[in-house]
């Protein structure tokens, strides 16, 4: 990992299209401004990681699970429509 020190209002370039600026520094928090082309997704790492992790787990779900859930739902909610799988008590 490349580690650079920056003060408030200073920037870093990643490639020639991505710029990261230190907007504010407080004792426990840094506010970063990111300027990047639209095609580049920018997200807090933990959110990105949690979606990726969830995708990876989900790719391993087995077919029997699907069958069971589907049978379950269709028996009780035969009509597919918005909210049709909600329970009303």
């Amino acid at each position: 990992m490349l580690v650079l020190s920056r003060q408030r209002d200073e920037s870093i370039m990643i490639g020639d299209q991505i710029e990261i600026t230190v907007v504010d520094i407080r004792s426990d928090k840094v506010r970063l401004g990111i300027s990047a082309p639209r095609a580049v997704q920018v997200h807090r790492k933990e959110v990105f990681d949690s979606i990726r992790f969830e995708n990876e787990e989900a790719s391993r779900v087995q077919i029997e699970d699907l069958q069971e859930a589907d049978d379950h739902l269709r028996r009780l909610f035969p009509r597919l429509e918005r909210g049709s799988a909600r329970q009303s008590i």
């Binding site: 969830e54 989900a58 589907d70 035969p78 597919l80 918005r82 909600r86 329970q87």
Partner: protein, 148 residues
């Protein structure tokens, strides 16, 4: 086109039904082409199967069956990137996971597909109202969709 799948063997799918994810799906960036397989008519769930990897498939569902209030906020650049003139042209799916006896939907990372161009993307929502594990249905119990 012929798609090799470890679940269903070889299946034949009309080329025009392929869905492209130019940026792939998070965690699987190299696989950009999928097909949607509905096990039976009126199924609540589909398989989103990679055409280039026989072992990669996701169970997906339309989140509106379970969470009718769910709306994916799309910024205008995102709509442009998907060539969507309006939200009505988009189909939203969420990837389904199973934990113990509960099926959950990733409402924080929905799949948004332009139905006409058959191009899609997985969005990352910064709205913390929805998580990656929103309970959809509990198996074994006589029924509950868990989201009120």
């Amino acid at each position: 086109m012929i798609v090799e799948t470890s679940l269903f063997g070889q299946i034949e799918v009309d080329d025009r039904l392929a869905i492209r994810f130019p940026a792939g799906i998070l965690g699987f960036p190299k696989l950009t082409e999928y097909v949607l397989i509905q096990p039976e008519e009126e199924s609540y769930f589909y398989w989103l199967h990679a055409t280039e990897d026989p072992s990669l498939a996701f169970i997906v569902t339309d989140p509106s069956y379970f969470v009718p209030t769910y709306r994916v906020p799309l910024r205008s650049e995102q709509m442009q990137d998907l060539a969507l003139a309006s939200l009505e042209e988009a189909q939203v799916f969420v990837i389904v996971n199973k934990r113990d006896d509960v099926l959950t939907g990733n409402l924080q990372g929905p799949l948004v597909i332009n139905v006409a161009t058959r191009t899609g993307t997985q969005l990352v929502l910064s709205d913390r109202r929805y998580t990656t594990r929103v309970p959809l249905i509990e198996l074994r119990r006589p029924v509950e969709a868990l989201t009120a």
